[in-house]
């Protein structure tokens, strides 16, 4: 029949229209027509989408316990590997130019990540031998000044290991396991070189 397709199409759109209202869904249910959930849009600032655990945005630095006990040793591997070169690291040194150690490790004096350049590729996380850098899922970072606000310094980047466990439980568990295994190896007298990089 001529026009049957048009009418059927109009039926589909009208049903969709009804489905977006609670009363419309009620009508459809009374007529025993299968209904879907209606509107897909998430009205963003009021309600936020539940992100999957693996959702990532920008990197952050992990510390254990207190912020001065950070895992990063300023080895600059991530600075080397970062494709858009958004990381800038300066190692902490004394007057003679020897690296300063805290908690038995060298540490960065300056650790800047330019968030307006970072492309969230996660390469820095993959290459870090000490699991010192991880991906955050914080995404509401808009700011009016690119240099003031989008270059994150060490203090802005530092977040606790607990925070990491909270946002990404599965990934944090594997990382913790790996770190514990490494620690046990270093502690045992038969263990070989302590700083063997363990790939993710």
């Amino acid at each position: 029949m001529i026009g049957a397709g048009v009418l059927r199409g109009m039926g589909v759109t009208f049903k969709t229209l009804l489905e977006t209202y609670p009363w419309g869904r009620a009508i459809l249910r009374t007529l025993q027509i299968p209904v879907t959930d209606g509107i897909f849009t998430i009205p963003y600032p009021e309600t936020k989408q539940q992100h999957p655990e693996r959702f990532r945005y920008f990197p952050f630095l992990v510390y254990d316990g207190t912020p001065d006990n950070l895992r990063c040793v300023a080895c600059k591997i991530c600075e080397q590997e970062c494709p858009p070169q958004s990381i800038h690291i300066v190692m902490e040194k004394d007057e003679q130019g020897r690296p300063v150690k805290a908690h038995g490790r060298t540490l960065p004096k300056q650790f800047d990540v330019d968030m307006s350049i970072c492309m969230s590729c996660r390469i820095c996380v993959d290459v870090c031998p000490f699991d010192a850098i991880e991906m955050d899922n914080e995404y509401e970072l808009s700011a009016s000044d690119r240099y003031e606000h989008m270059i994150f310094d060490k203090h802005k980047l530092l977040k606790s290991a607990e925070y990491f466990q909270k946002i990404k439980p599965t990934e944090a568990a594997t990382v913790d396991q790996r770190l514990a295994a490494k620690k046990a190896k270093t502690a045992s007298p038969t263990g070989d070189k302590p700083s063997q990089p363990s790939g993710p």
Binding site: I2, V6, T13, F14, L17, T20, L31, I39, P43
Partner: protein
Amino acid sequence: MNSLDQLFVNANAFLLGLLPVWARPWISILVRLSVIAVLAPAIMMYLTWIERKIIARMQNRFGPDRVGVYGLAQPLADGLKMLIKEDIVPRGADRLLHLAAPILSVVPAILLFAVLPFGRNMIPADLNVGLLYFFAVSSVGSYAIFMGGWASRSKFSILGAMRSVAQIISYEVPGVLSVVAVIMVTGTLSTAGIVEAQAERWFLFTPWGFVGCLMFFLSGVAEVNRTPFDMPEAESELVAGFHTEYSGMKFALWYMAEFLESFAVCAFTVTFFLGGWHAPAVPFWTLALLLAIIVGAGTRLAIPVRGAGVLAMLGAGALWGAQPIPSWIWFFAKTYALIFVLVWLRGTLPRLRIDQLMGLAWKFFLPLGLVNILAAGLWTQFPFPLGTAAAALLLIIAGWLLVRANAPQSLQPQRVYVFAD
């Protein structure tokens, strides 16, 4: 009921009664003008809101919901934005025509409101050639569109304008032909007279009226360039058609003209075929019984729902007998129902191809319109069952023949597949 029905008429008469006699005609004109001048932009603004809301819902979205409750202040915000936007005139454009075109397109759209019977005794100007006036004024819009396209000096604009003019002129013919039947039956060109003639039965419920209504409405949709007939502004081909080079308030004026014209098309369809401001001429018990039977017979519903439905419908029927709804509400309700259909069509159908569009006008609507006039003649000349049956039969046969004649011929009637050995 009567006081509510004649609310605006009485208020107007009361106001005029306070004035000296010599001032009354002038003030009367002024009042009508200002009502239209206020009503038209308000209608237009909320048409955009309605359209955006409905389309959004049909696409599983919310539509505007940020400015005000349910986004009701969105049209105001948009208007403000349009006002303060930069107005760009392309280099080499004809500045005068570029400015005049949008104004020229809005003026006829507003002028159309003059002959609309909004309710019983509520018509701004009861011209005895109202119908002629409608067609004369609405066709001025095509000049404006071509003017705008020409003045912009851009190939998109000129192509869009040319398509638009071709389309408007083509669809004016079936539009007029479908109304000729109405003129034949009512014997008047006055819009108020046409509405009066439908007190007993809406023309939609006659065979020729049904076909005429469909033709008039669809031609109207095509004339105001709306989907599925929006060739002149086909985004995928022409950017925005004739108003590609317009921005700011001039663009808003084009938009306003388009929306006012689509309102006018719906309003005139209601006036000519859907009984204008008349309530449906159904005896209340028929309505109540019919609705009750429909609800009661719905086997898909649960028994208590059906029982409640039957009772509610009987109640509605009883209320109906009291004629509680003022005539102007009927008019606006029907018009907005048609506007919903307009938006619904837009939400559903893709755009027609230009040759399909022209083919529909010249190869289908035009002959059908001529047959429709004959059907209307049969309907008037013969007494009730005979005339209606003859008209219906004639229209069905003609429609079937036209569909057959217009069916696209398959280029390869048989395709033979040869498999490789």
